[in-house]
Subunit: 266 residues, 2 copies
C-alpha cells in the first residue's frame, strides 16, 4: 500500500450523506483521507466543469466528529479542485460514493458518482466509483457497512496491481450482508432500461410544469454485464474508459462516400 498515501473521498449526494462517511471511515484504515464533496445533492448531474462562476470551499464537521471540506461545485469540480492544487498533499487515488442507488449500464454518463472518477483519470489519478446495487424504491435508511468493507478491499487490490492509465473502475455492490455476497465479477456495461415518463402538471397559477417521472429503471441481467452480476449477488467491477468511439462503425460510415462531399451553398 506504499503508493497510496492520500485518498480523496467525494460523492454526488453531498458531504453529509451516510454513504460518504462509511466509505471515508474504511479508507482511513489504509491511508490518509481527504474529503472534498459537494454541499448539496448532484445526482444525475453528469460530467461538469464549472466555468461560469467561481467556486467556494468551506470546512464542515461530519457526524463522526471528523472534518471534511465541501464546495458549491459538482462532484467532478470537487475532484478538479483537489487535483489542480487546492491541497498540498499529492492525491494518489480518488474514490467516489458510496452511492445509495446502482450505477449500471447507461447510468454512467449521467452519474455524478461515476463522473467524479472520470475527472480523476482526466488528471491521471486512478478513480473508483462505488454504488450500492439497489434501486430507488429501497427502504431507508440503508446500511453501507458491507459495501464499505468491500470498497476497502477493492482499493487494496488496486494498490497492489496499479490501474492502467485512462481506466476508471465502476463498482456496484449488491445490497446484501457481507457473507451473502457471492464474490466478484469483472463485467462489461450492460443494458439499462429506463422507464421515465413525462409528468405534466399545472401550478396554482394555472401554468404548466413538468417532472420526469415513471418507474425506476430496470436492466437486462445478461451474463457478463454489470446488471447481471449484481442481480446474481456478485460485486460488479466494470473497467471504463473515456474513449467513446464506436470503432466498429468507422468502416461502415467511411463507405457512405464522405470523401467527396458535394459542397455547394444551395
Amino acid at each position: 500500500m506504499s503508493e497510496i498515501k492520500h485518498i480523496l473521498v467525494t460523492n454526488d449526494d453531498g458531504v453529509s450523506a451516510p454513504g460518504l462517511l462509511a466509505l471515508a471511515q474504511e479508507m482511513r484504515k489504509i491511508a490518509n483521507v481527504i474529503i472534498l464533496a459537494p454541499d448539496r445533492n448532484w445526482s444525475g448531474s453528469g460530467h461538469v466543469k464549472t466555468l461560469d462562476r467561481p467556486l467556494r470551499i468551506k470546512e464542515v464537521t461530519l457526524s463522526d466528529g471528523t472534518t471534511a471540506l465541501t464546495s458549491d461545485g459538482a462532484p467532478s469540480d470537487c475532484v478538479a479542485l483537489a487535483l489542480l492544487g487546492y491541497f498540498d498533499e499529492k492525491i494518489d487515488l480518488v474514490v467516489s460514493g458510496i452511492n445509495p442507488i446502482a450505477n449500471l449500464g447507461h447510468d454512467v454518463t449521467y452519474s455524478g458518482t461515476v463522473t467524479a472518477a472520470m475527472e480523476a483519470i482526466i488528471w491521471e489519478v486512478p478513480g473508483l466509483a462505488f454504488s450500492l446495487g439497489t434501486n430507488d424504491n429501497h427502504p431507508q435508511p440503508l446500511d453501507y457497512s458491507s459495501a464499505a468493507i468491500i470498497a476497502r478491499q477493492v482499493v487494496e487490490k488496486t494498490a497492489l496491481h496499479k490501474l492502467q492509465s485512462g481506466m476508471l473502475l465502476n463498482i456496484n455492490i449488491p445490497y446484501l450482508p457481507l457473507e451473502q455476497i457471492k464474490g466478484t465479477r469483472i463485467t462489461r456495461q450492460g443494458l439499462r432500461v429506463y422507464r421515465d415518463r413525462l409528468d405534466r402538471r399545472v401550478d396554482p397559477r394555472g401554468r404548466e410544469y413538468f417532472w420526469f417521472g415513471g418507474d425506476a429503471p430496470t436492466g437486462t441481467p445478461e451474463e457478463g454485464t454489470d446488471v447481471g452480476a449484481v442481480a446474481a449477488g456478485y460485486v460488479s467491477i466494470t473497467p471504463l474508459q473515456l474513449d467513446l468511439t464506436m470503432y466498429s462503425a468507422i468502416p461502415t460510415l467511411g463507405d457512405w462516400g464522405w470523401d467527396n462531399p458535394q459542397i455547394s451553398s444551395k
Copy 2:
C-alpha cells in the same frame, strides 16, 4: 429524406445563440424544425437528468422572427422533454449545436452539445452534435454559415443511410470558408490536452474563491483522430457509443484474483 420529417434542434449555449439559429435555418430546408433549447448557457454541463425540480417550457421569438421553445433544464433535459412526449409530432432526428468551440477528445462527456445527442440515442432517436473546430480564443462574432451547410449535408447523408442503433455522431467542422474545407474524415476520439489551472482569489470580504483558469485546451493532432482531422482542414465525424467498457482490460482485471475475495470485517 422521407424518413426525417421532424427534426428537434437544441444546443448548450441557450436558445438565442447564433449557432442554433444557423443550424435551424438550414434544417428547415429539408424537414419540419422544432426548437427546444435551454434558456441559458449550459456549456460544460455534462449529461444531466433533472429530477430534483420540475421544468418549465416557454415560447420565445428568435432574431429571424421564428418561434422557438425554451426550458430551464439542461440540453439533455430538453431532448428528454421532447422525446418523452411534450410534442405531438414524432421526432425523427435530434441535432445539437452549432457549438462555437470544438468538442474533441475527452470533451465529449463534458459537452452539453454532445450529451444532448447522447440523450437522443437513450430514447432510440438518432442524435448528431455539431461544433465549430475553433478554440475559445477565436475572435467574435463567428460566422456559422459554412458549418450550417455542412450540417445539412451530413443530415441528408444520414437520412439516406440510417444510423445504427446506439450510435451518435460527433461532428466538428473546421472554421474555414466552405471552399477551403478539404473534405470529410470518419475519425476516432483523439487526445485532448487540458491546460486548466486553479486560480485562487480573495473577495472584497477577505474570503477565498476559485476559478478554473489556464489556457484553452489543445490536442494531439494524430492521424485518424478528430483532433487531427480538424487541424488538417477536414470535417471530422466521430461515431460514438454509450458503452464505455474498456474491453481490453477485462482479462487483466480478471487475473487479479477477485473470484475468492477474502471477505472479512477486519
